[in-house]
């Protein structure tokens, strides 16, 4: 859960470990109004720790200042609040694709003969699919590609790309399937069949923790992929912010965006923990028995 703190901490460590004045690293004086002003703004004088704490406190108060360079003068908070829903939608839609893959595999709807094809698709890097997606968007939506429908199409295509590229879909399908295959070799499954029960009813609670873990890892992977997809498809999400900030060396934006990514990841960790507890409770379920006199 301390992940959101780890990220800025690591970055801070990095800045102070690099040669040169942290202030001019964070934002060169000729941009940020003289080192003193800058030092005051980022409380750099107290060294790494104070800078880090100062930043955390401001962040807690949702004070991220304004963008230096990427969108000079626009409040970073505003940029973030505009970006987060977009990115979350993107990830959510992509997750739907991935989960569908998992479910289809679990239910055995996907024929195993398709595996080679699925594996192959999994090899395609996000960049390539994103480029194709961009071409598609531009051919279909053209001039209106920034209208609301165009924007949604970008999101949809982006989600599709994310969900399929870099082995997201194939990983979900093959991973889920192999998990179930291993479980189905357990003897109790065979017995369940002889008892007229469906195997999946029996195995699901037992494989759930493993599946949840896999799914969390996959969503983190999607987050990482969203950077490329958002930039190529010109989706104004966290990824675009992070990338733009990196190019323009807009430290405030990058620090905030990176931290937000970390926040999302740790939310996922929490979600995983909660789900696992729920499964454990489900497994322990049993009717209360009162002893007969």
């Amino acid at each position: 859960m301390l992940l959101p703190m780890v990220v800025p901490a690591v970055i801070t460590g990095f800045i102070w470990s690099l040669p040169g004045d942290p202030a001019s690293l964070i934002c060169p004086p000729n941009i940020c109004g003289g080192t003193e002003a800058l030092a005051r703004r980022w409380n750099l004088d107290g060294g790494a720790v104070q800078f880090f704490l100062g930043w955390l406190i401001d962040a807690a108060k949702l004070e991220f200042g304004n963008s230096w360079r990427l969108h000079q003068g626009l409040p970073v908070l505003g940029l973030l609040t505009a970006a987060i829903p977009t990115t979350l939608t993107l990830i959510l839609l992509a997750t739907v694709v991935v989960v569908t893959g998992g479910v289809l595999a679990a239910k055995g709807t996907l024929p195993r003969q398709a595996d080679p094809a699925i594996r192959f698709i999994g090899l395609v890097p996000a960049l390539v699919l994103a480029l194709l997606g961009a071409a598609f968007i531009e051919l279909t939506y053209g001039f209106d590609s920034f209208s609301s429908s165009g924007q949604f199409a970008r999101l949809a295509v982006g989600a599709g790309v994310l969900g399929i590229a870099d082995g997201a879909f194939s990983g979900a399908v093959l991973g889920t399937r192999s998990t179930f295959d291993t479980e189905n070799q357990q003897r109790y499954v065979g017995v369940a069949i002889l008892r007229g029960e469906l195997p999946i009813e029996n195995t699901l609670p037992n494989v759930a923790p493993a599946l949840i873990g896999q799914m969390r890892a996959r969503i983190v992977h999607l987050l990482s992929g969203s950077v490329i997809v958002e930039v190529i498809l010109r989706i104004d999400g966290l990824g675009s912010l992070l990338w733009g900030g990196t190019l323009r060396q807009d430290f405030g934006v990058v620090l905030a965006a990176a931290t937000l990514f970390a926040v999302v990841s740790s939310v996922l960790l929490v979600a995983q923990a909660v789900l696992e507890t729920l499964v454990a409770l489900h497994v322990r379920r049993s009717p209360r028995i009162q002893v007969r006199p």
């Binding site: 200042g65 230096w68 360079r69 000079q72 968007i137 051919l139 053209g142 001039f143």
Partner: protein, 517 residues
């Protein structure tokens, strides 16, 4: 239709009211980094701020005479060490308040405030001493020294005092994205475009209702988009795209005089390059004709080419250009070789060595110049290689250019760049040993002396003679290898009328622009 869509698409341009004549959509080189004129860096910034702000004085785009839209009357005071300015009444800011001398003096005080880290301000700090309001519309601007013709130099944009809490103006203030000016348009910067909404005023009656600035992206796409009438103009058309556009009847090309020239600046701190003979040799190594042909595509012997060679730090049309200095159009490798030998370098295995060590030249070029002169960097590198120099090439990002190259911290031996003059054609900052734009801290007593002559000059002729001398010295001293003046072309749809393009600032005459329905 698919074609249209594709084009529209690639640009990602969204125009509600296309072709109604009310709105003018155009492509810029890049989305402006700041709409605060004090922090204008790129030409896109300058052009955008010209729509939102009024400069105190400016040159008429056609007659080139000095004009002002906000000054009622002025008079030189204190024997040329000050000027008293009376502002027009009734000029309104975009926030509804009226323009007063308080705003004028605030602007000057902000620029004088050392906590305002603005290169523009730094320039004015050189010679402006103070400003005091003499009345609601009248202010006295004091100078540090006598200025021959002060109005020439007072071309700063006026900022609204009411919008700032102190005279220390930082670039990250919201003002940079939502500026308030007295100009013809009220600008709002979005993530992917800037919209300018017309603001009628006593001194501006723009015919256009709205202007929409879009980042250009791929030049190929920009061109097709313009031809297909999905955008009405491209501010900067790279040479490779010009034939396509001039072929189209619906588009007219307009020359945009940036008064800018291209150079290869030489790191005189590099032991080898500190020797003037070596610099002269490099000047002979460069085959400008070939560079121009391969990079910009000017055929040898082409009439009225967009690209004319120069031998000094001025464009040919400038009075300061010393026509008696010849240009070095072609390479002369034998001369170069002789010079290098006489400088004590030796050629071993086809590579030049300075006291036993092979010379490796680190060549850099401002990345976004690549559109205007594609592959210039690699071509220069190739020519150096052919002449026997090892070389490393790298593109330089805009930020790095400001923070490292212009701060004199660049680890390059040769830097390819473009210099554009503002209102006044002054080069002191580039060549004076204390100059702020002197990227390699080049220092030469003779040059400094001539520059002083220019500063002390009280008449235009004196100034011209000083710069003629400078031109002559530099052509042998060669802290820069001067390449050419590449005139910039814009392209606008023919429906766009009255589109007078001002040198450098571009949109100075925007009030006269209109679009036929």
């Amino acid at each position: 239709m698919a074609f249209k869509n594709a084009i529209r698409a690639l640009t990602g341009l969204t125009l509600a009211t296309l072709g109604t004549g009310a709105t003018l959509a155009y492509f810029e080189e890049s989305i402006p980094m700041s709409l605060n004129p004090l922090y204008a860096k790129t030409m896109a910034d300058y052009r955008a701020t010209e729509l939102v702000f009024d400069r105190l004085w400016f040159h008429d785009a056609i007659t080139n005479e000095l004009r002002s839209r906000v000054v009622q009357k002025y008079q030189v005071a204190e024997a040329g060490r000050a000027v008293e300015v009376t502002l027009k009444t009734g000029v309104r800011w975009h926030n509804g308040q009226t323009l007063t001398s308080k705003d004028l003096c605030f602007t000057i005080k902000a620029m004088l405030d050392s906590r305002t880290p603005s290169p523009v301000a730094a320039h004015y700090r050189e010679f402006i001493a103070a400003c005091d309001a003499r009345g609601p519309q009248t202010a006295l601007i004091r100078f540090k020294r006598v200025l021959p013709n002060p109005r020439e130099r007072l071309s700063f944009p006026i900022l609204p005092a009411s919008e700032f809490s102190s005279t220390a103006i930082s670039p990250d203030l919201q003002f940079s994205a939502r500026p308030i000016g007295t100009g013809p348009f009220n600008g709002k910067r979005g993530l992917r475009m800037v919209t300018f909404d017309a603001f009628a005023n006593v001194h501006h009656q723009p015919k256009l209702v709205q202007m929409q600035l879009q980042e250009g992206g791929d030049p190929l796409v920009q061109t097709k988009t313009l031809i297909n009438n999905n955008v009405q103009g491209i501010v900067v058309v790279p040479p490779p795209q010009r034939p396509d556009l001039s072929a189209s009847d619906d588009v007219s090309m307009k020359s945009y005089d940036l008064r800018s020239w291209w150079y290869v600046s030489v790191n005189t701190n590099n032991p080898a390059l500190s020797d003037v003979k070596v610099r002269q040799a490099l000047n002979y190594v460069l085959n400008r004709t070939e560079l121009r042909q391969y990079s910009i595509g000017v055929k040898p012997g082409e009439k009225n080419s967009p690209c004319e060679f120069i031998s000094g730090p001025f464009v040919r049309s400038s009075p300061y250009y010393n026509a008696s200095v010849p240009v070095q159009a072609a390479a002369n490798l034998s001369k170069a070789e002789a010079l290098l030998k006489s400088a004590g370098l030796e050629k071993l295995g086809g590579r030049w060595h300075a006291n036993g060590e092979p010379i490796t030249l680190r060549v850099g070029m401002l990345a976004n110049l690549d559109h205007e002169a594609p592959d210039l960097l690699s071509q220069v590198a190739n020519q150096l290689g052919a002449a026997g120099f090892d070389r490393l090439t790298s593109k330089i990002s805009a930020d790095e250019w400001d923070n490292s190259v212009m701060a004199g911290k660049a680890d390059f031996d040769l830097v390819i760049g473009k210099w554009s003059f503002g209102l006044v054609e002054e080069v002191n900052e580039l060549f004076s040993s204390s100059g702020r734009q002197n990227m390699f801290r080049y220092a030469n007593a003779g040059v400094d002396a001539v520059l002083k002559e220019y500063d002390d000059a009280v008449t235009d002729t004196e100034q011209r003679d000083a710069y003629h001398k400078l031109h002559k010295i530099l052509s042998t001293e060669l802290p820069y290898l001067f390449l050419w003046k590449l005139d910039t072309k814009s392209a606008w749809r023919t429906e766009v009328r009255g589109n007078i393009v001002a040198p450098y600032y571009y949109f100075t005459e925007i009030d006269s622009w209109s679009v036929d329905g």
